[in-house]
């Protein structure tokens, strides 16, 4: 769960103390009297939390807006006299929809909880996600003429006449670059000696890995773990351990 989930917002109100989602559950179960809940204070607490986190998580914020407006709508209905409620358009429909929506959402949440438990129960499952490293010995077997040359001509015509960029999902191949391992690799290289050059640190890595390692080094420099020096453009980059120590959590641990 993201730490800033609106549902986890800790409330300390007179009629209720605990997380926001518990409050919602209790209101729905009639345990807490909604009339007594100061919704404005709930909003203020949420704003204070956003202030504290320093960044606005849009998902969480919109989640909060939806929930709090539902709460407000309910409360308005409770506070109004029956006559006034009758005057409101589609009052029943609104209540109806709200109930259906809350129930549907509750089921989605329960299903999400089941998935989370399941993930923990089955543990880490690792399998190959593409073709094997080596192709099986290829036998030529009888191919039926299943394709037609005209299809190819049509396809090419389509390509050539595509007048503007068509919105089409771009399939980008996922290249797994073991960044965690690279970070550790650079850390080890720097730690083992007084200093080393970037070339030494990435010796034996592929070109792509070296590029990723460079990025990793930049990150280590930013965090103060590594200090880098280069005498001139294209001269060897000298790396040594910085003031800040590496965190204990390592992927290669």
């Amino acid at each position: 769960m993201s730490p800033s989930s609106a549902l986890a917002l800790e409330l300390d109100l007179e009629p209720f103390c605990g997380p926001f989602d518990l409050l919602l559950a209790l209101v729905l179960r009639d345990v807490v009297d909604l009339g007594e809940v100061p919704v404005a204070d709930v909003c203020l607490l949420y704003l204070a939390q956003i202030d504290q986190e320093g960044e606005l998580d849009l998902e969480s914020a919109s989640e909060f807006l939806v929930l709090v407006s539902a709460l407000l709508e309910l409360k308005i209905r409770l506070l109004l006299t029956p006559d006034e409620v009758d005057d409101m358009p589609d009052a029943e429909e609104a209540a109806e929809e709200l109930a259906a929506r809350l129930a549907e959402y509750a089921r989605a949440q329960a299903a999400a909880a089941w998935l989370q438990d399941r993930l923990a129960a089955v543990g880490l499952r690792v399998f190959r996600d593409g073709p094997p490293a080596l192709r099986p010995p290829r036998l030529e077997i009888e191919d039926e003429g299943t394709g037609h040359p005209a299809d190819l001509a049509d396809a090419l015509r389509r390509v050539l006449t595509r007048s503007e960029e068509v919105a089409e999902p771009i399939h980008v191949l996922r290249r797994r670059i073991p960044l965690g391992r690279l970070l550790q690799h650079v850390r080890d290289a720097v730690r083992s000696g007084e200093s080393c050059t970037f070339d030494e640190a990435v010796r034996g890595l592929s070109r792509t890995e070296q590029a990723a390692a460079f990025w990793a080094v930049l990150d280590l420099i930013r965090s103060g773990e590594v200090v880098a020096r280069q005498e001139a453009p294209f001269a060897p980059i000298e790396l040594r351990a910085g003031a800040r120590r590496a965190p204990v959590v390592g992927v290669a641990a």
């Binding site: 179960r29 109806e96 999400a112 089941w114 998935l115 399998f127 073991p178 391992r181």
Partner: protein, 204 residues
């Protein structure tokens, strides 16, 4: 191991997705009993404790995967350890797609009450959901469904059929009717009347 079993082992190795009995029979040319016997032999050869790779029933088919004891090393190789756990938003979106799929983004958003765009992209990136064509209605929105990878990560033997029925999830979960009656009770104590709705759809 018999020649039949060797062929099945090779097929399961070559395929990048689980294979069902039909696909195995078509490729191997084996009869049903031979296939059965071969699968059993492969299962024995690739059992936990004597192999690093185990045979599993998953996604309505058969597949080989790293055994529990070797999973960590394999995840390290594929750099899967640095992946952050699924967020609450992602899990809820995944649940909606798994149970209600194929669904469109707007539908997911309606059920969750918040837009699901970021969560959907995240799940596609993780290979847990995929596009499933376009809906045949206004706007022709893209539809999403869970992938075989989803079945494998969550260990669902018969794919989505292995998901528990929604009404068995969470005993104390209020159904729409219940929520409604509570709202009414609440309204009544406050002196507000909400009339009995005429026809209510039964939800499961």
């Amino acid at each position: 191991m018999s020649a039949n079993a060797r062929v099945i082992e090779a097929l399961l190795f070559v395929a990048s997705e689980p294979l069902d009995e039909r696909a195995l029979a078509l490729a191997s040319g084996l009869s049903e009993p031979d296939l059965e016997e071969g699968l059993q032999a492969v299962g024995l050869r690739h059992a936990a404790g004597c192999s690093g790779v185990v045979l599993e029933r998953v996604a309505e088919g058969w597949a080989l995967r790293a055994s529990d004891e070797t999973a960590l090393a394999c995840a390290r190789l594929l750099d899967q350890l640095s992946q952050r756990p699924l967020s609450r938003a992602a899990l809820e979106t995944l649940a909606v797609v798994a149970y209600a799929g194929p669904v469109s983004r707007p539908e997911i958003g309606r059920i969750r009450g918040v837009a699901a765009d970021a969560a959907v992209l995240n799940l596609i990136e993780r290979g847990l959901i995929e596009e499933a064509g376009r809906a045949d209605r206004a706007g022709n929105p893209l539809l999403y469904r869970t992938t075989t990878r989803f079945d494998r990560v969550f260990g669902l033997e018969e794919g989505r059929h292995s998901l528990p029925p929604l009404d068995e999830l969470g005993d104390d979960l209020p159904g729409a009717d219940e929520v409604r009656s509570r709202l009414q009770a609440m309204a009544a104590t406050q002196g507000v009347s909400i009339e009995e709705p005429a026809a209510v759809e039964q939800t499961t």
